[in-house]
Symmetry: C2
Subunit: 178 residues, 2 copies
DNA sequence: GTGGTCATGTAACAGGTTACATGATTAC
DNA sequence: GTAATCATGTAACCTGTTACATGACCAC
């Protein structure tokens, strides 16, 4: 379901786009929130067309199909946004690794945390660069106060920072033991 | 892969256990980190037995099969813990909803955040209760400094708190606009 | 012309969820 | 005896990943 929603959302933001554009859109704007490759996107767009949520507005060069959202699609997106309860199953490889870390001896566990920290630091830098890039330009006239995607980016940055703080504290704790 | 690792980890912690016990273990200790139903666990244990990572140590009443980890299994678990890079694809329904929230008007968006906040508060209460329960008892003699699963629980609590703070700030921001 | 990137698709597989199905044991 | 819970399994389905495959167009 969520893939559909993400596609409808992007299509709303873009006005209209091809499957290829949407795949690029996933790499850029939504990558930290949701991911999908083209092999998942193309069949899904076909199904969504069959279900009347999107339509092929035009066909361009190189077989390019330009999709746009229908009013049914807009309704579906709206219903999900308003009605969806995020009971989403928590599944985190990082947390699983953290859970099992005490099975290693402190020195080894420190190495693992060190690598994790490096990874998280890099990710944080990427997200902060994204934020900076988005906010470098002045807000255009008539734009709404909250920019599209900003709330999610803020959440991502905060959570990444929290993970980093946790890793530092966990390392300090292990060092006291080692 | 991660399901295997989680099962090997629980089996290490428990010494030995049946599929049923492991399913219960998922509901309790690891639920905030990883999840799996019995319909996934039983076939996986069968495959792991075929691969030599676990063995059926004994068969009890009601067809109960008691598994224990083999040295091969311990090696696999260790290798994963030491060598696994957490490049895990980020996929979060909450973040997706946050991303698309500006598509609603501020009043509706506030309602969604209100519901999310209630959910997150409840989850935080559960995790904190778990922490309190674990730390109510004095640390047994000879136990290592960090209790099994504590690092992950700490991470979970911190991230849940961060999400809550974010929701509050996002609501305040939307209220200014409404 | 040839290498890159645009653009779409399919197929095989791995991981996960929901529903179906069955029987043994225990508590009342 | 009957309801709850222990205990295991299978089947259908959905989602997601990796790999394969193909052709159009553009820049050099």
């Amino acid at each position: 379901m969520s893939l559909r929603i993400a596609l409808l959302g992007l299509l709303t933001a873009y006005g209209s786009a091809s499957g290829y554009d949407l795949a690029k859109g996933f790499e850029r704007s939504v990558a930290h929130v949701w991911q999908a490759g083209h092999s998942q996107i193309y069949p899904e767009l076909a199904k969504m067309t069959a279900d009347g949520l999107v339509t092929v507005e035009a066909e361009g060069a190189r077989g390019r199909k330009i999709y746009s959202i229908t009013s049914e699609g807009r309704a579906e997106l709206r219903a999900w946004l308003i009605g969806h309860d995020p009971t989403g199953p928590a599944r985190s490889e990082v947390a699983l690794q953290a859970f099992l870390l005490p099975l290693l001896d402190p020195g080894e566990a420190l190495d693992v945390l060190e690598r994790l920290k490096a990874y998280v630091e890099q990710k944080l830098a990427e997200l902060e660069a994204m934020w900076a890039a988005k906010h470098a330009l002045p807000v255009p006239e008539g734009a709404s106060g909250v920019k599209f995607g900003d709330l999610a980016l803020d959440l991502g940055i905060r959570q990444t920072r929290t993970t980093l703080e946790w890793a530092n504290d966990a390392m300090a704790q292990l060092e006291r033991q080692a």
